[in-house]
Structures are given as C-alpha cells and as structure tokens.
C-alpha cells in the first residue's frame, strides 16, 4: 500500500479538521447561509397566498386594534389625564403600535428559534456548516418583518401628527440592542431545546409574562404613578422596557420620559445594556459548547 499511516509527516499536513462548530472563520459564508435560509423561509410563508405580506401584518394590527379600543374607550388609559397635546400619553395609538411591533419581533425571533435546530435536523445531520446560522436566520426572518412593520408604524405616526425628529437617528441603536438580546436568547433556547423539550411551553409563558412586564400596553406614566421610584428603576432595568420606552420617547413623543430619565441617570443605562451583553454571551457560549454534539443528540 502506497500510504503508510505510521510514517506520515503529520506536521506537514496542516491543521486537522475541527469537527462541527457553532462558528467559523468564514463570516461571509455565515451571512450568505443565514440570508438564504431566511429568504427561503420568507418565500415559503408568503408563497401562494394572495395577500402575502398583509397576513404578516394583520396579527400585530389586530392586536393593536383590540388593545387600542379597550384601553382608550373602556379603560380610558390613552384618553385619560396626560393625553393632551404635549403630555406624555399623547399619541397613545402610535406608541402602542410601535411597542407591539417591536415586541412582536422579539417574540417571533425567540419563540421561532426554540425549535429551529431540531426542525433543521435534515441539514444538521448531513452537512457541515456553522451551526449558528440556524438561530441567526430565524432572527433575520423576524427582522424582515420588523422592517416592513416599522414602515407601517411610521406612516401611522405621521398620520397621527408626529413630526420627524432628529432623535429618529436613535432607531438603529434601539434595533441593535433588541437584536442582540433576541440573538442571545435565540441561541440559548435553541441549544437548550435539544436537551429539554419543554423549553417551548416554558418560553411561551415567559414571553407572555414579559409582554405584561414591559411597557407595551401600559403607558409608563401609569407605572410611575403606582410604583415607588426604586421599583420604577427596577422595572426599567429590563432591556425590553428600556428599548420600548426609548422608542416611544425618541420616535413618537418627546413628552413621554426617556429611558435614562426613568432609570435615574444615563449611567444607569449600562445596567440594561449589561444584561443584553450577558444574555448574548451566555447564549453564544452555551450554543457554542453544545454545537459539536447536536448532530448526535437530536
């Protein structure tokens, strides 16, 4: 036999392969893969339906309609004290819609990511590729939706009388923070689901809790009236609360307090940011550590 495995110059062979991993050195490949998976999913979702994207929009819009009617007409939150021009609750409708759209992005990307690795078993078992692509593509898909939904939000805001502001430039930062949080959770949940199949209902419940624990429906002024300042600070440490409230402040209505004001100082903004960083780091490390064994544990 021409090849003797005993006397091969192993040092000359270069580095051996490293087996399945979450990450890679070739980031353009990660991007191409992520983008194409997300695009295919997007195509699948709208393929064959006449109204296409409309169905994607109708869910947050319907939720918005119900909540808007309930809270302005019945509970008088949106039309109560503080909702006059120049007051915090003015533009309650636009604020509510914006919050719902942002929260929908968060919920879609994290809940969609829970099953993603297991659902893509066919790929994971047959081809070597950076595993991180799978949860990333789920978040990217949710981002496509977010982009389109935000257009609707801004149109609605302009119709309601919101005028363009310089603070609109904060939007990319807010989206980035929300995305990092979502990607971190997506990786964490996707990795855990391989081992604990009840991650899915657990996360669904937690999403519901977060929905009510974040300023989506309730204007932050109402929270301020009911809670002590310390509790308000605690409430705002939740990164979702920070992003949603800052969105309302920067994008819709300057009269509603900014996130830093509610936290009691811009330095304290570091707390929710730190949470995002920790969640992202945790998600990445857990996913990275489980990635080599995913193919055999599915």
């Amino acid at each position: 036999m021409s090849v003797d495995t005993q006397s091969l110059p192993y040092e000359s062979l270069g580095p051996p392969i490293r087996g399945p991993r979450a990450l890679t050195d070739d980031w353009s490949r990660v991007w191409h893969l992520t983008f194409n998976i997300a695009r295919n999913q997007w195509k699948l979702r709208f393929f064959g339906s006449v109204l296409g994207y409309f169905w994607q929009l109708i869910r947050p819009l319907l939720l918005f309609g119900v909540l808007y009617v309930f809270f302005t007409v019945i509970a008088h939150i949106g039309s109560g004290p503080g909702s006059g021009p120049g007051e915090p609750n003015h533009f309650y409708g636009a604020q509510l819609l914006g919050s719902i759209v942002l929260f929908t992005f968060f919920s879609e990307s994290t809940n969609g990511a829970v099953r993603c690795v297991v659902d893509n078993e066919a790929l994971v078992r047959k081809i070597q590729f950076p595993r991180m692509v799978i949860p990333l593509s789920v978040v990217l898909l949710a981002m496509f939706n977010l982009g389109l939904n935000l257009i609707v939000v801004m149109v609605f805001a302009l119709i309601s009388g919101v005028r363009p502001m310089l603070t609109w430039l904060e939007l990319p930062l807010l989206i980035a923070m929300l995305t990092f949080l979502s990607v971190g959770l997506a990786m964490l949940l996707a990795a855990l689901f391989v081992y604990f199949r009840d991650m899915q209902p657990i996360w669904e419940v937690l999403t519901q809790v977060l929905f009510y624990a974040s300023p989506v429906i309730v204007p932050v002024t109402t929270v301020e009236q009911r809670l002590s300042p310390a509790l308000v600070h605690l409430y705002m440490v939740n990164p979702l609360a920070t992003v949603l409230q800052q969105f309302r402040h920067a994008m819709i209505n300057h009269a509603t307090p900014s996130a830093s004001a509610l936290l009691g100082g811009s330095v304290r903004l570091l707390a929710p940011i730190a949470i995002v960083v920790v969640v992202f780091g945790l998600g990445l490390s857990v996913f990275n550590r489980t990635a080599p064994y995913v193919a055999e544990n599915l």
Binding site: P9, S12, L13, I17, I127, P292
Partner: protein
C-alpha cells in the same frame, strides 16, 4: 517535501472557496501528501437507557444520573488517501462506516485527528438536506451555498445540476412531490457539481435506475481523471473492486483490513456469511425408519473448518454422514445441489467409483466430495440420495434437511457457474480474419 512545505501550507490562506475545473491542481493537493488522513479516530456514543427530555424529570429526580451505556462506534481507525484516489469503506450494517464518514465530513466530533486537505463535498444518508417545501431550484442554490459556493456560483450551477439529475421538467416542482429516486438524483447531482476536491459518498449506488447508475459511474470516472479524491462507502463489492484502489473494511468499529480491494471484498463476504451464520443442522434423531439415514450434511472450507459460506474459487468439501441400519453390500451416496431456483446445478456421486464400500448394520459412513468451487454466488441446498447397488433402490433414504450453504463472490455475471477464464481481446486484422475463415 518536508516541513518547509508544511509550514508554508499552514500560513497560506485557505484555497479559494471555488475551485474551478481548470484549477484542479489546487495547492492543497499538489504537494504529494495524502488528501485525507485519519489518525487514531475513535468515536463513542452514549446510549441513555432512558432519555430524560423534560425539565420535570430533571427536577423530580435531580440526583438521578442519566444512566447510559457507552457504545464504541469507531475504535482507533487510521488510514490515508492519496489525492486522486478512490478509497472504499466497506463493512456490514452498523459496522461504523457511516459514522466514520460523518466524522470526516465534520458532522460528528470524534477522538483522534482527521485531515481533509481540499474542499469537501458530501453525500450522506441519501441526501444533502433538502427543504421539502421548496422547489428544486431553490434547494440546489441553498445546498451549493452550504457546500461552500458563493451564491452567484451556486445560481450559475443550477441548470447543470438539474440537467445532470435529468429533472428539467420538474425544476419548479416542490421537493415533497418528488419520488425518492428523483430526490437522490438531485442530491447526488448537487454533491458532484460543486467542484470539491474531496467527495464523501455514502451508498449512492443502492438507488436510482440503471441508466442513472451508469451516469454516476461515468461521473466517477471523470472525477478520477480530474484528480479528485473520493471516499466511498458501499456494500457493493463489485463497485468497490471496479472503482477503488484501496479500501478499509470495518467490523464493529474496528479495522479488519486496510489495503487492496480484492482482499477487502473477500473478507467482507467472509464476515457476512462465514462467521455469524453458524447454523448447522442438528443430527437427526435415532430410531427413524429406513435402512440408512443421513445424520448430517455440512460444508468445509479448504482449512477443514465447518462453514456456512464458501468463497468462490476456493476448495470446497461437502461432507455427508450416514448411519446404516442394515448390512449394505455396495453403499453409494449421491448429492444433488439445487440453487435458489430449484435447478440442479451439480450432481456429486460415488457411483462412478470403481467399487462401493461394504457397511455393516450400525456402522456409520462419511462421504466427502471435494471440488474447486466454481459455483456462481448464491445459496445452494444439497439433496442426498443413498443407494445400495447390491440390493437396489429399496434401501434408499432421501435426505432433505433445511441445510443450505452460501457461495460468496463479487463477480456474479449471471451464469450458474463461473469458470476461471482466460480472456484476450485484440484487433482482428485482415490476416488473422482470413486465417480463421480458412
């Protein structure tokens, strides 16, 4: 060739993502070193006895360790494949072939080191991971990107791939409406059209019709010419011998043999039929009627070992043990060998011997028939006839047990026997043709 090249290799950037046909002598395979190397590759799976899948179970029994058995799927496997070589991996089901391929492909992590020097394309578990809801076109692009092509290159190749798979008429059809054969054709077309340096193929020849199989063979031949390396898992010893120069034979995760395909094919068949199928008929009960009884029939190989399968081309001995209840003047035995189709392929008999042997009541006789095994591969059942020429036919006791044996071989051409044949082919010019006619 030494360390200098190696160091250069390591510091050099990876070869470009796309290696076109003209650039097949990519730097990774031009240095005279093997293309694929495995050193002491081991893989252990943990088989949990009961899989704890829910958090509730974890919470209720926090102390209980998931008990599991470890299963060694691969045990210190080493081999090297030269660039441009076809390397076969053979073994029975569950011997670790596919696991080894998955380790090389980087789908499973494993102990030991594996080097794959060049871009890899894989065809594992009859597919490359398609999305059933997407059309063939989208799947091909997706898979091209998965295998390392740029999106533009992947899109460029769609037509070639679909043409190779002969699916032009179905390219807009969702994959879930494809037949399994079409599925595999498409997957295989993708795998070989991405211009990889190293191709890992798992059992492709088991599916597809004859025409497509031929197409695969042609594709293999082309790739061989282009200097591509192919690692090939198969059960088909004929294909193994036809394409591969070297092969690895696995059994229960260990190397049985690493080397020439001829030996691998023989050993494979031996493993399949020779060892595990040790079912020999029990000796028949005493006291049955008749003047003579066949107690046992068995087959021995050239080393005199009882076997259930004998390789083609080797010495074979059929043994018949007989007990006589009456005196026999001229005891004879004949064996009719029937093949699967119940056709008598061979008759062995003592009748042509100059004289028979005399046996007393209560004596036993052992008839042995040795011959060069030219039988075609397949299963054979012997039917034994006993006779006493001195006192004709009424002492006959026909023995038809369930015993059968298998002839193994990898060159079944379709006949009932395979004789050693010397074949020559040459051009018949006018002179020789005239000689023949004259």
């Amino acid at each position: 060739m030494g360390a200098a090249t190696g160091r250069a290799l390591r510091t050099e950037p990876r070869p470009p993502a796309l290696v076109t046909l003209s650039a097949m002598a990519s730097p990774a395979i031009a240095d005279g070193l093997p293309a694929v190397v495995a050193r002491d590759v081991s893989k252990t799976f943990r088989l949990p006895q009961e899989r704890v899948h829910t958090l509730k179970e974890r919470v209720l029994h926090p102390r209980r360790r998931t008990r599991y058995e470890t299963f060694r799927a691969l045990d210190h496997i080493s081999f090297a494949v030269e660039p441009g070589e076809f390397f076969g991996i053979a073994g029975r089901n569950g011997s670790g072939k596919s696991t080894l391929l998955k380790c090389i492909a980087g789908i499973y992590g494993c102990g030991g080191d594996i080097w794959c020097r060049g871009r890899l394309s894989t065809f594992i578990e009859l597919g490359v991971g398609f999305n059933p809801d997407l059309a063939a076109q989208d799947n091909v692009v997706m898979n091209g990107i998965m295998m390392g092509l740029s999106p533009r290159e992947a899109r460029k190749r769609v037509d070639t791939v679909i043409e190779f798979a002969e699916l032009e008429d179905f390219k807009d059809l969702k994959l879930k409406n494809y037949s399994s054969g079409m599925h595999v054709r498409l997957a295989f077309a993708v795998a070989i059209q991405v211009d990889a340096d190293i191709l890992l193929i798992d059992e492709v020849l088991a599916v597809g019709d004859a025409a497509f199989q031929q197409k695969c063979f042609d594709a293999f031949a082309t790739m061989r010419k282009q200097g591509k390396t192919i690692v090939f898992v198969t059960h088909d010893m004929g294909a193994l011998k036809r394409f591969c120069q070297h092969a690895l034979l696995l059994e229960r995760g260990s190397t049985v043999y690493l080397g020439d395909t001829e030996t691998v094919a023989d050993r494979y068949l031996e493993i399949n039929f020779g060892r595990d199928e040790r079912t020999f008929p029990a000796e028949q009960d005493e006291g049955c009627e008749g003047d003579a009884r066949v107690i046992a029939v068995w087959v021995e190989n050239e080393r005199g070992e009882r076997v259930a399968g004998v390789p083609q081309g080797h010495q074979l001995t059929l043994q018949v043990l007989v007990a006589y209840a009456v005196d026999v003047e001229d005891g004879h035995a004949g064996v009719f060998l029937h093949n699967d189709e119940q056709r008598t392929v061979l008759v062995l008999s003592t009748i042509l011997q100059p004289e028979g042997t005399r046996f007393r009541a209560g004596e036993r006789a052992l008839f042995s028939f040795s011959f060069q095994n030219v039988l075609a591969p397949g299963r054979y059942s012997p039917v034994v006839n006993l006779a006493d020429r001195g006192a004709p036919l009424d002492t006959v006791d026909q023995y038809e047990s369930g015993f059968s044996f298998v002839v193994t071989g990898s060159r079944a051409l379709g006949g009932v026997v395979d004789l050693p044949t010397e074949v020559t082919v040459r051009r018949a010019d006018a002179v020789t043709a005239r000689d023949v006619l004259a």
